[in-house]
């Protein structure tokens, strides 16, 4: 046969998506308003078209479902059937089933790979078309899905309606709970025309500058000492004209830049359009009645962001349905409508776009979270009592926190709000906030910067070479005298506010070639006033990078690396300076990783050299709330052959100590949830730790603190300023005997 059917599949998918969207919108309208015959007619046509087109491609499962849908819509159109909300739910199920199959087709590109038709759904639709809608009941999903042997999955399947449930896997199309995003950018012609028009102005402005060049040559040739005064006036005038031209050019460039950036923008509709369906799928799978309202889909964001927003938004929608909204029974008892409402909205707020996912559910149960945070050891009971409600609610963003009493197949599976926060904050440089009122509802707000391509960049110099850092990774800039530098395991560290921060020469880390002629400035920077340190931070890990000089700090356009250089993990992009110099923007997370590797090697060599040090058998518990301090102490101790376990604060330390057995404990003083003094005295009350050496390591150098340390039962007190590896190791050795 000459005609290639497959060629038409993608064409069909494209068209069917349009019709599915129209069907969804039409059903929404039907749900909201009274039944409008024009609307019914329009969606009837969509169902009809899908039926016809799919039949021409022999996609019988789609044809069958669309046919049944068409019959119901036809009955509604003729008035032989009256609209009721239950009927709406059923129609949504039908549309969603078709959508699921169309997406499946889009993926496989082969009609034969389509799952068989959902007979039960079709039967329900057929029954509904005859007016027997009362017989159509959506079976409540079995609470213990796991007990019937089915795998719990995050994919909402479509359990059949109105019949005893056969295994869902055989009848449900694989509908992914994922919002769709696209690979191509559609640009409105008007936008492109504006850009081209602007280019024309830039070209003419360039011509003006050429003219200025001719003017200057003329001035040059006319220059003679006799007419100096007159000449200077002309020169002055020339300067002014040139300044005006440059200013004009700058305006054009700015505008050009803005317009070009807009080309990268996509409407949020890319992500929002499928939200209604995702919500219905999810709601159905947990047996809740939910209506989803979407607004602000026309707001445009950088496509890079659009791509990354899909997952967090799905997660928030899931969360709203799973944790936020109550079941119909609970809602009715609370005097609310049985149907829950989820709103997905976007609005612009200055240089930011705010996306909100709101539900009118029960609100976040603050007391439950407070209690759980204590039980899980995130905070102490006293601390919990002192926290404001908002602070307690914010605990849900902590890794490992989940409030669902039973683990369901939708959310609460280990990854949660912390991942949403990480996506929004780390990947998109945005913010996440949550507002909640008990009994009224919860709103999650994602705040996103409008453009990722322009960022604040700090330019530094190393061995005469410029490098950039994006501002979000720069924690602080400090100058530290050389004598304050500590040497720990053959490398440097500084103490910044009670925290050890490793110091690395950026030149060493990058193996930057030394320039024969150093600038005088950079020499002055290093020698006269100590080390100039750029402290970079990725989450709670810090690294101080010694640089020669600071060059500049301003908003710059970050250009991606060319394709063949993308694998350079150290460089996240390039910026061009005013002097047309290309500067690499360093990727802070990669620098930290590299520094960690170098440290690892150093520790191993060190460990080898201390192999006979005799610490090998001892187990040490290190308690410090600073990630960096913990890591450094761990490095030192491991280098001397000790086995090290880490704890993040006093409470964590106490739990670890109770759970295991340690030969010595090193603890910081100031820590959240439980300080080092309390930890020490608590440990002394434990049978196991009555005589175990406890060393307090702190930046406090007060006599009364030392006394207090001894009172609570510590064996030694090391001040961080005096800290070097030998004093720590010597102390431990003498205590462990």
């Amino acid at each position: 046969m000459a005609l290639d059917i497959k060629k038409f599949i993608s064409r069909f998918v494209e068209e069917a998506r349009e019709h599915i969207k129209r069907l969804g919108e039409g059903l929404d309208a039907m749900n909201r308003d009274s039944v409008d015959s024009e609307n019914i007619n329009a969606i009837f046509r969509s169902a009809h078209t899908i039926k016809g087109s799919s039949r021409m491609l022999k996609l019988s499962a789609i044809t069958e479902t669309a046919h049944k849908l068409e019959d119901v819509l036809g009955a509604l159109r003729d008035g032989s059937l009256n609209y009721r909300p239950e009927l709406g739910t059923l129609l949504y199920r039908g549309v969603d089933a078709i959508a699921g199959m169309v997406e499946c087709l889009a993926k496989s590109g082969d009609g034969a790979a389509l799952p068989p038709v959902d007979e039960a759904l079709c039967a329900s639709l057929a029954q509904a078309a005859t007016g027997e809608v009362s017989a159509v009941v959506i079976p409540p999903p079995s609470i213990d899905l796991a007990s019937d042997g089915r795998q719990l999955t995050a994919e909402p399947t479509s359990p059949p309606l109105a019949t005893p449930a056969p295994p869902a896997a055989t009848s449900a199309p694989p509908a992914q709970a994922k919002l769709s995003t696209s690979d191509t950018v559609r640009v409105r012609l008007a936008k492109l025309d504006e850009l081209i028009k602007l280019m024309g102005e830039v070209v003419s402005s360039h011509a003006t500058l050429r003219q200025r060049l001719l003017d200057l040559r003329l001035l040059e040739s006319d220059a003679s000492p006799q007419h100096w005064e007159q000449h200077r006036a002309r020169l002055h005038h020339f300067g002014q004209t040139l300044r005006d031209d440059v200013q004009n050019q700058e305006l054009l460039m700015d505008e050009l830049h803005d317009k070009a950036l807009i080309m990268r923008m996509l409407p949020l509709a890319m992500v929002f359009d499928s939200a209604g369906r995702v919500v219905r799928d999810l709601a159905h799978s947990v047996g809740k009645e939910v209506e989803c309202a979407v607004s602000g889909a026309e707001i445009e964001l950088d496509r890079q962001m659009i791509d990354k927003l899909s997952d967090p938004i799905v997660h928030l929608l899931r969360n709203a349905i799973d944790h936020g909204l109550e079941t119909s029974a609970v809602r009715l008892a609370a005097g609310k409508s049985s149907q829950g409402h989820v709103t997905l909205s976007a609005r612009q707020d200055g240089g930011w776009v705010v996306i909100e996912v709101a539900d009118d559910g029960g609100g976040v149960p603050v007391e439950v979270i407070r209690e759980k945070a204590v039980r899980k050891g995130f905070i102490s009971a006293e601390q919990a009592a002192g926290l404001s409600d908002q602070a307690v609610v914010d605990l849900i963003f902590r890794p490992g926190f989940s409030t669902s009493a039973i683990i369901t197949d939708i959310s609460g599976r280990g990854v949660g709000m912390d991942v949403v926060k990480q996506n929004i904050v780390d990947d998109l440089q945005g913010e996440v906030t949550v507002e909640t009122r008990l009994g009224v509802g919860t709103t999650f707000a994602l705040r996103l910067p409008l453009s990722l391509a322009v960022m604040r960049v700090l330019l530094v110099e190393v061995n005469g070479l410029p490098f950039g850092f994006t501002a979000q990774y720069v924690d602080e800039l400090i100058r530290v005298p050389h004598e304050e530098m500590l040497t720990v395991v053959e490398r440097n560290a500084v103490i910044i506010r009670n925290e050890f921060v490793p110091v690395v020469l950026l030149a060493d880390l990058l193996h930057a070639p030394k320039r024969l002629v150093k600038t005088t400035r950079s020499q002055a920077g290093t020698f006269d006033h100590g080390m100039l340190l750029v402290v970079v931070r990725v989450r709670n890990e810090k690294l101080a990078l010694a640089v020669d000089d600071l060059l500049d700090e301003r908003d710059m356009v970050i250009k991606p690396l060319p394709e063949h250089m993308r694998r350079l993990t150290m460089v996240s992009g390039m910026v061009i300076t005013g002097r047309n110099e290309l500067v690499s923007v360093l990727h802070a997370p990669a620098l930290l990783e590299l520094a960690r590797q170098m440290r690892g090697q150093a520790s191993r060599t060190e460990a080898a050299s201390h192999a006979n040090a005799g610490g090998a058998a001892y187990r040490i518990l290190v308690v410090d709330d600073s990630f960096n301090t913990r890591e450094i102490e761990k490095d030192v101790l491991e280098a001397w052959g000790y086995h090290v376990t880490l704890a993040e604060d006093g409470m964590d330390g106490l739990q670890q100590a109770r759970a295991g057995t340690f030969d010595a404990v090193l603890t910081d003083v100031e820590m959240p949830t439980m300080d080092g003094f309390t930890l020490t005295s608590m440990l002394r009350q434990e049978e196991k730790y009555r005589d175990t050496p406890i060393v307090i390591i702190t930046s406090r150098e007060k006599e009364e603190d030392k006394r207090r340390g001894i009172e609570v039962g510590a064996d030694a007190y090391i001040v961080k300023g005096d800290f070097d590896q030998s004093s720590l190791v010597d102390t431990l050795r003498s205590l462990l005997g």
Binding site: M1, A2, F8, R11, H48, G52, S53, R55, M56
Partner: protein
């Protein structure tokens, strides 16, 4: 040999055209009955009309009746996704009425030949 294809659904229209062009026919397209009548009233020569049934404004069967009342006697094949026998019964003067499905590729050329040989 020129065929006028009338269908509001672009997908279905393209599919029909693909079948016809594969058989060596020249196709002209109309999105609805009004457009079809305009084309037929114009200068272009046309030997056959193939129209969808379910279209906005004017249905395929109404288009057929309208054309006949205007004295246009071109052979007319109606395509439908619903019930070809029923429609044929409703309007026996139709030259043919076919079910739009995947078999269109084989059946349509045969039917065209039959219809044209009858003229």
């Amino acid at each position: 040999m020129h065929v006028l294809v009338v269908d509001d659904d672009p997908f279905s229209r393209e599919m029909t055209v693909a079948v016809l062009e594969d058989q060596g026919y020249n196709c002209q397209l109309a999105e609805n009955g009004m457009e079809a009548m305009e084309i037929l009233a114009g200068k272009s020569s046309c030997d056959l009309v193939i129209s969808d049934m379910n279209m906005p404004l004017i249905s395929g069967i109404d288009l057929f009746r309208e054309l006949r009342s205007q004295g246009v006697t071109l052979p007319f094949i109606l395509l439908t996704g619903d019930d070809p026998e029923g429609l044929q019964a409703q309007e026996p003067k139709l030259d043919a009425c076919l079910f739009k499905d995947f078999s269109l590729e084989e059946i349509l050329p045969q039917v065209i030949n039959e219809v044209l040989s009858r003229c």
